[in-house]
């Protein structure tokens, strides 16, 4: 049986879908087979970030209705055949599916794939409940901002109440320069506040936007960019590897940078 992992955040727009797409791709680079489930019925986006939007024929709903087989609904990625997407329906809403049905689909996928990553919608209502129902573990995505961290904390409580104890944190969109200037929470600040283990950090980077524009996840590049390495490292940690955290301060580790940090203490 594969591992069923939900990628969630509470707040919208912090990078859940980007994380799901990149982690899925990164895991296939490590030799794993991966199924991505879009749990955002009515506002599906995972197909776009993967560049697979033109290849969606059936969705999870047709599988549940018996109109097609699971295998027919899965969109296989041509660039990476060990990755498959189970799309959500776009013309319906979150109540089109129940937590039991989500669990049924995820369990079927877990029989065939090493990982099932579920892209959770924002909020804590029915879409959230659907997305976490099948999961054995969770990756919590947040940004170093007050609202995102507060919502993330609420989600930790809900996940624990649902019996999901294995929760790891991804801090997205770190701006090292702002942290240096004491105008942004650092990764350890956020982790200290949320008090859950860290799966990784991702720097704020224009290349993330460019890759979503193109529908080509960052981890597909032959020469990985810094955010690409960040996602790759998170995938390696999921696999149980010990990988040191990315040092985003490296560009500031010049003599002047160190001097300025010394005086800013």
């Amino acid at each position: 049986m594969g591992r069923i992992v939900v990628i969630t955040s509470g707040k919208g727009g912090v990078g859940k879908t980007t994380t799901t797409a990149n982690l899925g791709m990164a895991l296939t680079r490590l030799g794993r087979t991966v199924a991505l489930m879009d749990a955002d019925f009515g506002l599906r986006n995972l197909d776009l970030l993967l560049g697979l939007e033109n290849r969606v024929v059936y969705t999870a709903l047709e599988v549940l209705a018996g109109d097609c087989r699971l295998e027919q609904a899965l969109v296989r990625d041509k660039r990476q055949p060990s990755l498959a997407l189970l799309p959500a329906a776009q013309n319906r809403n979150k109540d089109a599916i129940t937590p039991e049905q989500m669990k049924q689909l995820a369990d079927l996928l877990a029989e065939k794939f090493d990982y099932v990553l579920i892209d959770c919608p924002a909020g804590i209502e029915s879409g959230f409940k659907n997305a976490i129902a099948p999961a054995q573990e969770a990756l919590l995505v947040t940004t170093p901002e007050i609202a995102a961290v507060r919502d993330a904390d609420r989600v930790v409580g809900l996940l624990e109440a649902h019996g999901i104890r294995k929760i790891a944190l991804i801090v997205n969109r770190i701006r090292p320069q702002m942290v240096q200037a004491n105008n942004m929470m650092s990764v350890s600040d956020v982790q200290e506040i949320l008090a859950i283990p860290l799966a990784g950090l991702v720097p704020d980077d224009e290349r993330v936007i460019i890759s979503t524009n193109r529908g080509e996840p960052l981890v597909l590049e032959a020469n990985l960019s810094l955010p690409g390495i960040a996602f790759h490292n998170i995938a390696r940690r999921l696999e149980g590897e010990k990988v040191p955290l990315l040092d985003l301060d490296a560009p500031y580790n010049t003599l002047m940078g160190r001097l300025r940090r010394f005086f800013s203490r």
Binding site: D153, A181, N182, N183, I193, A195, L259, R260, F263
Partner: protein, 94 residues
């Protein structure tokens, strides 16, 4: 980065005009999360404060101005912190 800006920033560090917002956001988050996690309404908290004050004042005279009563958190544990400066212990319990 020119030498001039470094000197300028150095001087700003020595004579800070205002600190960064990082400490502000941490402080605000810690406070709001302590309340979120405890799931206590401000009314309940205030009622609890009043009742605790009632009990304490039967035994001691204390400095109501200097009293602190707040929720704080450490790791994922929320604590109710009360700091009551005692002026004098009553000879007889009221």
């Amino acid at each position: 980065m020119s030498v001039l800006t470094v000197i300028q920033e150095f001087l700003e560090r020595l004579f800070p005009r205002s600190g960064g917002s990082r400490q502000d956001v941490k402080r605000r988050l810690q406070l709001v999360l302590a309340h979120d996690r405890a799931d206590l309404t401000p009314e309940m908290l205030e009622k609890m404060r009043q009742e605790i004050v009632e009990v304490i004042s039967r035994y001691v005279e204390f400095d109501a101005e200097g009293m602190e009563f707040s929720l704080e958190m450490d790791e994922r544990v929320t604590a109710l912190i009360a700091n009551v400066p005692i002026r004098r212990v009553r000879n007889e319990v009221l």
